[in-house]
């Protein structure tokens, strides 16, 4: 067996998994706090990437209106601002009217939201593929290639480090802060949260803003990898099996689920693929998710349904 090749496959699988995890994280945040499966999460990543591109590109609206483009760090902050405004608008125009409705109705609303956002993005920024370059190193990591002959993308390592930082910050935010505690409280029991004076509206804006920020990070990584284009919004579909594996309510679950799917896909493609004629990579994740639904529906790390006897 070619150990070098195996290592390379596993590492590149892990890195691809990190990219899935970034998208899945956004889903988890919103699902945790409001029980809504946000179908629009992928489109939010696309929208964030488009907005960021607009702040940076010479042909963007921003340049046309103000006559200059923003430097990268400021553009990222500005895009985060756009996502906060978007979160506020979503609460103001959609969620507010659906308080205490069935989960399925909220889910339908997010499907609608996905189309509106997608259309708005097209309308504002055009539908051509845009290369996003914010200075993330590209190409292979020369050191590993020279010393060990391993081919690993710098971008993927960058994404992995970013994801690690993001998850740490989120974990601290959820576990240690007053707002984080309130978010978890809302996730457990809307009514009780209201009764102790937690404003659901404020909490929802915060959650959607945080999810928007995570979407921005995912959008940056995917946009740098394969350009900002419509297909970015479809990575949301890849996040679905990740969520089923990791559990809809668990932040670490989203990460581990992503890694398992990333590695599993690559390994299956290479070692099982030839036996069935290949192209396993496209459906392996969904098969894995199906198996999980049968045997462990709450996922690896999903919150156990507490039942007292």
């Amino acid at each position: 067996m070619d150990w070098l090749f195996l290592t390379e496959t596993i590492i590149s699988g892990l890195m691809a998994g990190v990219m899935y995890s970034l998208v899945a994280l956004g889903f988890v945040l919103i699902f945790k706090a409001s029980g809504i499966f946000n179908f629009a999460q992928g489109v939010m990543a696309l929208f964030a990437a488009l907005a960021l591109y607009d702040f940076l590109a010479p042909e963007g609206w921003f340049n046309q209106l103000f006559g200059f483009t923003l430097p990268v760090p400021i553009a990222i902050v500005a895009t985060a601002g756009v996502m906060v405004i978007l979160a506020w608008l979503i609460e103001r125009l959609v969620l507010r009217y659906l308080i205490n409705q069935e989960g399925i109705i909220l889910f339908m609303a997010t499907i609608g939201l996905a189309y509106v956002l997608e259309g708005t993005g097209d309308l504002l920024f055009g539908s051509d593929v845009k290369p996003l370059d914010i200075g993330i190193p590209q190409g292979a990591w020369d050191y590993l290639l020279d010393t060990h002959g391993l081919y690993i993308e710098k971008l993927e390592i960058f994404a992995a480090i970013t994801a690690a930082i993001l998850v740490t910050v989120l974990a601290i935010f959820f576990q240690k802060t007053r707002i984080g505690r309130a978010l978890r409280a809302v996730a457990d029991d809307h009514q009780a949260a209201l009764s102790v004076g937690i404003s659901l509206r404020a909490i929802w804006v915060i959650v959607w803003a945080v999810a928007g920020f995570v979407a921005l990070v995912a959008g940056i990584m995917w946009g740098s990898k394969s350009g900002v284009q419509f297909s970015l919004s479809l990575i949301a579909l890849k996040a679905l099996p990740v969520l089923i594996l990791g559990g809809f309510t668990s932040v670490p679950g989203a990460i581990v689920g992503g890694l398992i799917i990333g590695v599993g896909e690559k390994l299956a493609e290479i070692y099982v693929g030839p036996m069935v004629g290949g192209a396993i990579e496209n459906w392996f994740a969904y098969m894995l998710a199906l198996a999980f639904l049968l045997f462990r529906p709450q996922g690896l790390f999903g919150e156990k349904i507490i039942e007292r006897v």
Partner: protein, 281 residues
């Protein structure tokens, strides 16, 4: 029905009640009429019991006061509720909690996946008076409920029913309330625990000057600890009076406790009797 109604809420004389509910009507989903004119008053520092059978409207009355009806598609369509002379309807639940009115909901509603201590801390969400003050409140809650201190690190979902009820009351205390709306604290608890919880309510009332409005089906206990009582039937207040008088009232005994001058009566007969004879206020 009672003289309190006649008073004008606006001026608020010195002896005005802390909470006044004036002839309110509540409709759910625009069609279901649940309260058909409920009036009551809670004096400063009082413990008032609200009693009635299942579905009489006790919980709805409490939720109307704490303004939690909106989240259940309910609405106060007539009448008014004033707290310290201020109209409650114009405030959202968070603003009410800041003013000192907090509800402990029926069925406890602890945050299951949060620890007991985290549950308590959420009660202080609206407070802006600093960590030290919140820590002091936490110590106070642990003083009243020593059992919560022992379980502080456990997830609330894994604690017993009694502990959850204590947690829910403790969480409300963390908001520094002047008035707690306590909905069915005895539900599903052993009589001894019910006694324990009511003892704590009593001492909170005495030492912390917290006023209580209690909704209870468990009539004997509720009336023992309350100073005044209202009886609700089918969305109306059908009787009110001093708690001791109410508990000695023959009709109350018969309807709610199944006792009559001829000794115990079968519940079947009570029901029948109740259908024939209604209190009308």
């Amino acid at each position: 029905m009672n003289s309190v109604n006649a008073q004008e809420a606006a001026e608020r004389p010195a002896d005005a009640p802390l909470l006044e509910v004036n002839n309110i009507e509540v409709i759910y989903d625009h069609v279901i009429l649940v309260l058909k004119g409920v009036s009551l008053a809670v004096p400063e520092g009082g413990v008032v019991a609200l009693r009635g059978a299942n579905g009489a409207g006790k919980s709805t009355t409490l939720k109307a006061i704490s303004n939690l009806l909106g989240a259940e598609r309910g609405d106060v369509t007539k009448g008014s509720i004033t707290y310290q002379g201020e109209n409650v309807h114009a405030l959202n639940p968070a603003e009410l909690v800041k003013r000192g009115v907090i509800q402990v909901m029926e069925g406890r509603h602890c945050f299951e996946h949060l620890t007991i201590e985290e549950n308590l801390l959420t009660g202080a969400y609206t407070r802006g008076d600093g960590k030290a003050a919140i820590q002091a409140s936490l110590d106070k809650v642990y003083h009243y409920f020593p059992r919560l201190r022992e379980r502080r690190g456990s997830q609330a979902g894994y604690t017993s029913g009694g502990e959850q009820q204590m947690c829910a009351i403790g969480r409300a205390l963390m908001a520094n309330p002047t008035m707690i709306l306590l909905d069915e604290p005895s539900m599903g608890l052993a009589p001894q625990l019910v006694e324990e919880i009511f003892e704590i309510v009593h001492s909170l009332n005495e030492k912390e000057r917290v006023s209580f409005l209690l909704a209870e089906q468990n009539t004997t206990v509720a009336l023992r600890y309350a100073s005044y009582g209202y009886i609700l039937e089918n969305g109306r207040v059908v009787m009110d009076g001093d708690a001791r008088q109410l508990s000695e009232n023959e009709d109350v005994k018969e309807f709610y406790l199944g006792l009559s001058s001829e000794g115990k009566k079968s519940f079947k007969d009570v029901k029948h009797y109740r259908r024939r004879k209604r209190w009308l206020a």
